[in-house]
């Protein structure tokens, strides 16, 4: 929140009280740091998966939440990143950490080239075109056995000795996550990030400001794709392998779910979503085979009742508690109609706002 605004309007000041994200980040980091001390091998894997998901979903939200574009090809770039590491290792013998660094570059290049094609269309057709392009990449990975070993996938990627213990790998991924989230966060807070939000809000008006909308959309798509590839490379460090399913469009749906659960209107949303999604998935799949059923119902409830996801839900709750405390001790029953507009419709500086729109300008 801008200091000027905060000083001038009490409303803005109240809003900033609702968003103590700095504290939340610190708490998350602390939990991330000490969690392995209490976790067994399996639980550490779950946590690593949460980290991968957090980066994957945040990279996706660069497009969805900030630029207002929906892509179904995001899984493909995730897979390209994973294959970049494994293929460089298996065919050229390059160390996996070199592959790790190259993965975002290669995935970004793939996203740039496919984005050039996909951005010929707008909105719904853009989304569907990304679906086709992503599936094309999936089919290539699935069928080009000489390159990728097809459905069998590639397993047992060699890691540096230091990364062989699970705990060390966890800390490596924690560090990698911190780096990725810091970079993306800085970019989203920059003038460039603000411009992306302007395009999401009103692409036509942005054009009249001298902003080349398509070019920025392509930049957003490429940036998102590059960090999806980075997440894919993180996956290889965790799993030591890659397989075609990583590129399937149902994988592309995962960051969408994670983002929706956490909340697409806040930078921290996808990370919160990853934590909830990862832990819930682990907890449920070990007790109950119908994970999809539960995920589907949770998603329907979120879409129908709480489009802002968990982050906004918590913000509303905090606002509501605050108001109750302000009121007479007796307290009136919670008034549904007067309440939500407050937290939900306030501007979220540095974080995207509003309903998601399908991609493309106009």
């Amino acid at each position: 929140m801008n200091r000027h605004d905060a000083a001038r309007t009490g409303i803005a000041g109240r809003l900033s009280n609702l968003r103590p994200t700095g504290t939340v980040w610190a708490v998350l980091a602390l939990i991330g740091f000490i969690a392995p001390l209490f976790a067994n091998q399996r639980q550490t894997y779950v946590l690593m998966h949460v980290l991968v998901l957090a980066v994957f979903a945040t990279s996706f939200n660069v497009m969805l939440g900030y630029t207002g574009m929906v892509s179904f090809a995001h899984g493909a770039y995730y897979g390209v990143g994973a294959y970049a590491v494994t293929l460089l290792w298996i065919h050229l013998g390059w160390p996996s950490l070199v592959g790790f660094l190259l993965a975002p570059v290669i995935a970004g290049a793939a996203a740039y080239l496919t984005g050039l094609v996909a951005l010929r269309a707008v909105q719904l057709y853009f989304a569907l075109l990304t679906l086709a392009l992503g599936q094309l990449l999936f089919v290539v990975a699935f069928q080009w056995r000489a390159l990728t070993r097809g459905d069998d996938g590639i397993h047992g990627v060699a890691l540096p000795q230091l990364l062989m213990p699970t705990t060390n790998r966890y800390y490596f991924l924690l560090f990698a996550t911190a780096v990725a989230l810091a970079i993306l966060g800085a970019v989203m807070r920059s003038p460039f990030g603000a411009t992306l939000q302007a395009i999401r809000e009103n692409g036509e008006r942005a054009g009249f400001l001298g902003i080349k909308v398509k070019r920025y959309q392509l930049a957003s798509f490429t940036l998102g794709g590059a960090f999806a590839g980075y997440a894919g490379a993180m996956f290889v460090i965790m799993d030591r392998g890659a397989f075609p399913l990583l590129m399937h469009w149902t994988t592309s749906a995962e960051p969408i779910f994670v983002t929706l659960i956490g909340g697409l209107n806040a930078y921290i949303g996808p990370t919160v979503g990853a934590l909830i999604f990862g832990l819930l998935q682990d907890w449920i799949t070990r007790r109950f085979v119908f994970w999809g059923l539960i995920l589907g119902i949770v998603l329907l409830v979120i879409i129908l009742r709480m489009p802002g996801g968990t982050v906004e839900g918590v913000q509303r709750l905090v606002a509501w508690i605050g108001r109750r405390r302000d009121r007479a001790p007796r307290g009136e029953p919670f008034d549904e109609s007067s309440q939500p507009a407050d937290a939900a419709e306030r501007p979220r500086e540095g974080a995207p706002a509003g309903e998601p729109t399908a991609g493309g300008e106009r």
Partner: protein, 248 residues
């Protein structure tokens, strides 16, 4: 030399000639109004000048450079700002951010991927907001503003671009009389303070005659008459097609 020179500009939609061979010279510092009945081609003319529509024929020269058919972003960069007939803002962002985006665009910094955007150009943004009477609303969500305030915000966004020429498409459309008066006072004051050239089209004749230095009257896509407010008031053809019905 005129700041804006339009020569023989034409645009048709199917059989309809929306803008038909229009010539227009706007001198620096001038406040020029375009009037005409509905369908006279005013908005189309604006769309052609700002590059939103490609013309079928003719040329647009701005500040000595040919900008005919250039894309909207290039024309915006060249210094033609525009406020819309239909309010066009960034509703989910704060009022402050709306105007700040104009500043960023004007400074060519929209692609800058580092450095926090938060307080960037805060003082000049607040100055523009103050000028437009929006200072107290800086932290408000733009979409929550009243209609009049949204129009003022749109003007503020355009001003943040520091245009040489400002195009206003019916700046007071849908406003109550007091709001209309306030908005036009604002336009006049800002135009004077910033030495802005303003080209606007408008239905409200009080607004037109109270603000414009010169007036172009259009009818059915063609220029019908041009001159000072007094000349236009006295022009017989204008009275016939236009003023007769509306002014009394």
């Amino acid at each position: 030399m005129a700041l804006l020179e339009v020569r023989g500009l034409a645009k048709g939609f199917g059989g309809l000639r929306a803008v038909d061979k229009v010539d227009l010279d706007v001198e620096p510092g001038e406040r020029r109004a375009i009037i005409g009945p509905n369908g006279a081609g005013k908005t189309t003319l604006f769309n052609l000048i700002t590059g939103y529509l490609p013309p079928d024929a003719g040329s647009v020269t701005f500040d000595g450079a040919d900008v005919t058919g250039h894309p909207t972003y290039a024309i915006a960069k060249a210094g033609i700002g525009r406020a819309f007939q239909i309010t066009s803002i960034f509703p989910g962002l704060t009022v402050f951010r709306n105007v700040q985006l104009g500043r960023l665009a004007q400074q060519g910094e929209t692609a800058r991927p580092f450095g926090s955007v938060e307080d960037r150009y805060a003082s000049s943004v607040m100055e523009i907001l103050g000028d437009c009477g929006l200072g107290a609303l800086a932290g408000e969500r733009a979409g929550n503003l009243s209609h009049g305030d949204q129009r003022a915000l749109e003007l503020a966004i355009s001003l943040a671009m520091e245009p040489k020429l400002l195009l206003l498409d019916e700046p007071t459309a849908g406003m109550a009389p007091e709001e209309t008066a306030r908005t036009m006072r604002l336009v006049r004051r800002i135009a004077d303070e910033r030495k802005l050239t303003v080209l606007f089209c408008e239905h409200d004749m009080d607004v037109v005659f109270g603000t414009a230095d010169r007036i172009l009257v259009m009818n059915l896509g063609r220029p019908l008459a041009e001159g000072t407010p007094e000349e236009i008031r006295a022009h017989p053809d204008v009275q016939k097609v236009y003023l007769g019905e509306e002014v009394v």
